[in-house]
Symmetry: D2
């Protein structure tokens, strides 16, 4: 199958390499020329521009976007749209907001161009060796995309989620669950660490990764992380977040759904990034005011 | 009314002073002689030992303990018990665990001595000028204590909670609620502080302390704290806890009652005391493992 | 002082009555004629339309809106704007979103009309006998409004919060704190109820309302509620929410501020409205799948 | 290897059957004779009493207990102890509290009998086809047990955790993490269900179980559960808990470790079992008191 791939960052590059390996023909484009050249060396056809990329593909075209969520997706689509024909398909494989995907599908649909929102999971390793992809959009367009999905994903690792937006909504919720799972694991290992026993955390994670109820890829990654340093002392406990967690909480607010654990996981990340905050100072100050409790003077 | 007061720390001293002011006769004892002398100067009768204190009181004796929760209460009771007679009453006005109070009531009851568990709220100011006291134990012993409670508390600020243990159980739950209220206030002021407006937090607290739905003593204390420094920068946001919060969570576990907010408030305190913890490091490490996300290298 | 009052619902009516009592002159309007007539009987000047209301006020006019948040505010402003002159002031005393208030202030400012966002707290009783009001907008317009605020509020119960939007932002955060406080109280009383003691909850609330650290208006309201029925059995534990709680969480997401307790309070409300939900069923089902644990068959 | 197995409930029976299949010799005992007979039919040697079981094993004996946590373990040990000799080993493979295991190890150690606490994970399927076991106790006794562990567990699925108690402590924390993971999954599927899309939840779970970041055994079990009914409508969302979750929270309180997500997961279970509770009624009642907000009258 022949397809275009736009955006050759960490994820996009790995996915393109994987598709090439599976025998698909790819025309690739990225703003960074060396990324394009690297992929060309692996068998892809290099495009110097979106125009060139569109020109090298036969209608109905299939173009997979792997560009950062937000404005870059809109800008890419604005530039692509005049180059496309009725019946072409654009797939957004990034972590876009599902409402943006609904809007984009509607916009492209006006010109007869299909838009598929494809939530991609599995990390860098999955992108390279077999991912998990949830797709929303027109079912016929999904069916046409399926050979590519089959190549990109592990067996059983892709599926049709429903109308436009549902692919990215499912990915967003997936990440919300991921936040909760990771936080639960963090809390548990922290409690092991604080206990009066002398656990070898790497050993515990290894055992839990094999045969336990909580085994899974995240536990295997915990083994990897702890192998580097059993105390994880090589990094600071400051946890970034890339948006899907807060979108999940926003969606829960909109739908009036109770998600205490996912929200608490997100707030733990915010808290991890604000060692000094007025919230804690206010509580400490109140204790002092009513009970004369000592407080720690700021150094 | 004549009574003995054992334990003249911050709370006990203030309460004793308040009782003297109300015209009650007090025999007082503390391990620290200067505290005893200070109160004698204000009209109390000084006792040099528990024996002397017991000897200076007529049966049926009324002895109020204001010693630190835990072993000190048990030790004081062990020493007092041989000096007491059937019909005497011992009141524990400290923050004892309700199960200890049940046990002590049962022990003293074997010798015909009443034991009342009196949870005291209102902080140092309340101890000095009018507190709030919840009492558990025999109703007849409570009735005999009432003149003292009337003097110690603001109007309507005391009551009979039920059988032994209920006074300290009520006080424990009171503190659990207090944890939740303080945390909610801390979070709210933090959000004001982080907003794009330029709030004068002292001004906000002053307004909220007058006429709002969330007015109350804690809000008045927030005004006091913010008056010292509108950013509370004189202290570190490291929040101690003195036990009742965790007892409340333990009691909720025992009774299978859902108290997410009180528990989250307690855990926020623990978190405030552990800037570096394996929990946050583990989550940051997992993010790196699956997504290649950057992490902050420990300095 | 002479002012217009638009919107005579529960809150607006009480506030108008209070202002009349304080000797202010009011021109009042509401879509429901009987509300207008009722206030006219108490000394207000009745207006049959916004046009009439604007005509009866001298420039610079002062018009206080007490209409439901959302579209009604926009519609009222659209109708009022052509009737107003440069220098007039419109106050929105409802629970509007702070971003709407910023937008409205900007729109009215184009025509030289002042817009003040006034967050009003204190409930129905406060509206009638003395409220708490936080105001955002131009300082000069706030100063002109002050006589009315002084009449409406308890002493010290109003203040200038800053530029447009800050009044409603402060009110929103106030409600977030209120959610947390109420939830903490609910959890505490629930634990008392579940304990092995036989608490008289009304008695406990009465004691806590007098002299305790957690005393305040909410505790006084708890006394009132429990006086009606010590088990609150007259209502179902289904807790509505009117928007400010979720706005607070949204604002925290936007500002990346950790508010675990306020969010947990909101989610407890959502949960209270969904006795049957897939979340609980999913966890129960998972337990059965791995451990063969029994589950309760749906009736 | 020859060993005794006491307790042939769901887990114990499966484990015994698995050991027999692996070629180990088992003497088995249970209070329920038919369970013993069933295993005898599969090749085990039936014992009619603990005495008989002990008599059929050569010193140093190895006896694996798979009886319910709590008193049954103590009673079994009390009966076994007089039948054992110095150098024998008793393994507790159930979900005992780690402090009980410490106590038991100390008690048996006085008589020279080894006690190993073995936390067993993997559910019924793991018990039958390959489990995950975390063991605490004397290292030499662990080494002697290893052939049995190797047979019972999947590859890499067992390990030595440290001194007595550490095996059950690790299992307890494992279950705490499990609570958090399951709750995060429940919340996520609930949000999918409440969304405006029309998700086929079974399809989503299938995709997520293959190649995603959150893949793992729990997600595979979710597929199984949803295959029975995509809405899980065959069960009521009332979630039981068997103790390890609350022990985890208690341990966190004891060690002052913040575990907001694990605790929130436990409280969600409690909440799921109390549709009508005073907590929600109190909040609904307070809303009515201050704002005149309507409430739902109890039917």
């Amino acid at each position: 199958m022949k397809a275009g791939m736009v955006g050759l960052g960490k994820m996009g590059f790995n996915m393109a390499e994987h598709l090439l390996e599976c025998g698909h023909d790819l025309v690739v484009y990225d703003l960074m020329e060396e990324r394009v050249a690297d992929l060309a060396a692996k068998g892809a056809v290099a495009a110097a521009s979106l125009q060139e990329l569109a020109g090298m593909l036969d209608a109905p075209r299939l173009i997979w976007l792997m560009v950062p969520a937000g404005d870059p997706v809109d800008r890419t689509i604005e530039q692509l749209l005049p180059l496309l024909e009725r019946g072409d398909s654009v797939v957004d494989g990034g972590n876009s907001h599902y409402k943006d995907s609904e809007r984009r599908a509607s916009r492209l649909g006006q010109d007869g161009v299909n838009f598929l929102d494809a939530g991609t999971s599995g990390g860098l390793e999955g992108a390279r060796h077999g991912a998990c992809i949830m797709v929303g959009g027109e079912k016929a367009a999904y069916d046409a995309l399926e050979p590519l999905l089959k190549a990109l994903c592990v067996e059983n690792g892709y599926g049709y989620m429903g109308r436009s937006g549902s692919g990215h909504f499912a990915k967003m919720v997936h990440n919300g669950i991921e936040y909760g799972m990771m936080q639960a694991m963090g809390e548990g290992f922290n409690l092991l660490d604080a206990s009066r026993y002398d656990f070898d955390l790497e050993e515990v994670s290894r055992v839990w990764a094999h045969g336990s109820v909580i085994r899974g890829w995240l536990m295997e990654l915990m083994v990897q992380a702890l192998q580097k340093d059993p105390n994880l002392a090589y990094l600071k406990g400051s946890i970034a977040d890339s948006g899907e967690g807060r979108w999940t909480v926003e969606a829960a607010l909109e739908h009036e759904v109770s998600i205490p654990v996912i929200a608490a996981s997100l707030f733990s990340r915010y808290r991890s990034r604000s060692d000094e905050n007025l919230s804690d100072r206010a509580v400490a100050a109140l204790r002092h005011e009513f009970g004369g409790h000592a407080f720690i003077i700021k150094p």
